[in-house]
């Protein structure tokens, strides 16, 4: 499916600020299954851009604005081709990936409640080994059932164990709970941040706001094969409506914008994300 994304972030300050530094992860990923055909980043005021690829392979753009200002607008426009069934072959992982996607991370502590939740939904093969694919699917469904989709009850700092205890949250919380469940039974799993296309006449209860179409889900590694990608908020596999933006251990590694500035001014951030077919 061909999808177009327009992602605008507007920063406003109640007093002039100086030395603002912003990092942006907004360029959709290119891999064997998804192709980012075009990508354009526009800033107001017009700024020089530098870029690098982070340790997870995400594209990062970096801007500085050292002169006094009260507003900064960042807009990214991308065009992406997605596939209906996503599978990313990667039989061998680096030692660091093998470690990072298995252990706790800042948003994904592996406490007793999460461990019990994971253990309760494992699926074994006939010869008594863990069936990774079946367990991952079972944990996705379990997460989908354990949480009620509800915005406003959690925030950007909520961790997996807190969301599980609350039994509610948004896509970020669904993803963190499923990551915790997977890792607590020894399955390697990583966080995917992205967008979700929802046709106007086909909205489901768990779908994001059409003006804020950001989304999050989970990649699970099948040993010796590669990554399958599961969306616990919708209890489905990644579809052609999912656009992959960045991957990491959890939300810590993938925020679309991250910034600091000098001065005591208050910041107001407005985000609008629209996905078109």
């Amino acid at each position: 499916m061909r999808l177009q994304i327009e992602h605008t972030t507007q920063f406003e300050y109640d007093m002039p600020i100086t030395e603002a530094y912003t990092e942006v992860r907004m360029r959709p990923l290119n891999d064997d299954m998804q192709r980012c055909h075009t990508f354009e980043m526009v800033t107001d005021p017009d700024l020089n851009e530098s870029r690098y690829t982070d340790r997870f392979g995400n594209d990062v753009r970096f801007f500085d604005l050292i002169s006094p200002h009260q507003s900064l607008i960042l807009t990214s426009i991308s065009e992406v081709y997605t596939v209906s069934r996503y599978f990313l072959p990667q039989a061998e992982l680096s030692p660091l990936d093998l470690h990072d996607y298995r252990v706790p991370s800042p948003y994904v502590p592996l406490g007793p409640a999460v461990q019990a939740f994971g253990q309760a939904h494992t699926v074994m093969t006939a010869d008594g080994a863990l069936d990774v694919r079946a367990t991952a699917l079972s944990l996705m469904t379990a997460t989908y059932r354990a949480l009620k989709y509800q915005s406003g009850v959690t925030d950007v700092s909520t961790k997996a164990d807190q969301a599980l205890a609350l039994g509610a949250g948004v896509c970020q919380d669904f993803a963190h709970v499923m990551l915790a469940a997977c890792r607590s039974v020894g399955i390697l799993a990583r966080y995917v941040s992205g967008y979700l296309y929802v046709a106007v006449n086909n909205r489901q209860p768990n779908d994001p706001d059409p003006d804020l179409a950001t989304h999050a889900w989970v990649d699970v590694h099948l040993p010796g094969q590669g990554w399958i990608s599961l969306d616990p908020t919708h209890n489905c596999e990644q579809s052609e409506r999912h656009v992959r933006l960045a991957i990491g251990r959890d939300y810590t590694d993938v925020p679309p914008t991250r910034g600091v500035y000098k001065g005591s001014a208050k910041e107001k951030m407005k985000v609008r994300v629209r996905v078109f077919n």
């Binding site: 030395e19 690829t53 970096f62 030692p95 660091l96």
Partner: protein, 488 residues
Amino acid sequence: MSDVANQSLKSVLDQYDLGRFFDEMFSASSQPRPHYQTLYGQLGDLTPQSFDERRRAADASFLYQGITFTVYGDNDDGIERIFPFDLIPRIIPQREWATIEKGLTQRVNALNQFLWDIYHEQRIIREKRIPAELVFGAKHYRREMIGLDVPQRVYAHIVGTDLIRDDAGNYLVLEDNLRSPSGVSYMLENRQAMKRTFARMFARYGVRAIDHYPQELLNTLRSVAPHHEADPTVVLLTPGIYNSAYFEHSFLARQMGIEIVEGRDLVVHDNKVFTRTVRGLKQVDVIYRRIDDEFIDPLGFRPDSALGVAGLLNAYRAGNVTLANAIGTGVSDDKAVYAYVPDMIRFYLNEEPILSNVQTYLGLRDDDRTYMLEHLDQLVVKSVNESGGYGMLIGPHATRAERDSFREMIIANPRNFIAQPVISLSRHPTYFDGEIHGCHVDLRPYILCGEKITLVPGGLTRVALKRGSLVVNSSQGGGSKDTWVLQE
């Protein structure tokens, strides 16, 4: 003073109690080792009164120059103290130094290769020579450094390695300091004090010079500038005047003739780092930073840090500035990673280590942990990320309650603890409270690594001034001595 007032210093030295330790100066009572013979003769000729006068003059000069060190206690208020200086120098014969120099060069070489490897190919982990969780689970492992290329693959430009001697006089490596090793200013000031106080003795002894250290440090920093810049701008980045080592920061900057800056004096623009001057912005090529990783860039690390420079990590990644030491070197300061340095030397250099480690038990290894827990009363237990003598259990001197609390901590978090046998550190005659005592010493040589590896001969000899104390860190109330490496 009363004990020694009526004697010559010789008779005081001859009454000196060697204890059951390796003594640096004496092989037996009244039997100085050959390289201490001249010192023994000349000290012996002094009267205690004249020795004490010189000592007071030396102390006054330290106070006058404001050479102080902040001691952190249980509460967070640092107490500023004069770093106690002892007038009896520690002497190292040239052939011993030659071995130390070779051993440390080898060690720092292997450590730099290790640091490059863990941020690139991770070959040592793939080949299972060190556990992945030890490296990737280390507190100071920095994922931001993956794939980032540093000039000449040098990560640790300034290393301070702590050496001790066991009861047979063998030099052993106690720990490596690859983040911001401090103390080199004391090494330099101790030498100045010694030269003033014992000018003639010093001249006759044939002591190798160390005064060129600041120049060597500057050469090292200049040699790692980006793009082979012909005349690079080097600055020293300090957390500021409240830092316990601020004296050293300003001292070194002055000696090198470079600017000392705080985070707010630097600004990043277009991925380059600039210092603000009265004539505008001036680009900086190399930063000798004495700020910890977490605080160095609020965008890349802790956003609440007011000490750092926003965007610095990206300028560094773009290759427009060199940081010394590199970000992420602290993984080697982890005391469990330390245990693998001999294996690193074999793995990367295909050589046998010239200097040995202290035998180390790792909480991570089941057999080691069992041994640790069964022998807590005989071992020194250390938390892997603490330094400066904090977070330590000295088993034989600890109470039952202290041992029990460490037992619980080890069981709860085995990866974070190591244990070592209690080493009888060598001792050195040291003057305090009006007497000469045998005090435990260690040695911290400073290794500079740029285009080449350089050591100035000697280093900082630290002394445990509390009677019987085995802890020599300056933050635990230790003192120091001038360290003489002889020409022949």
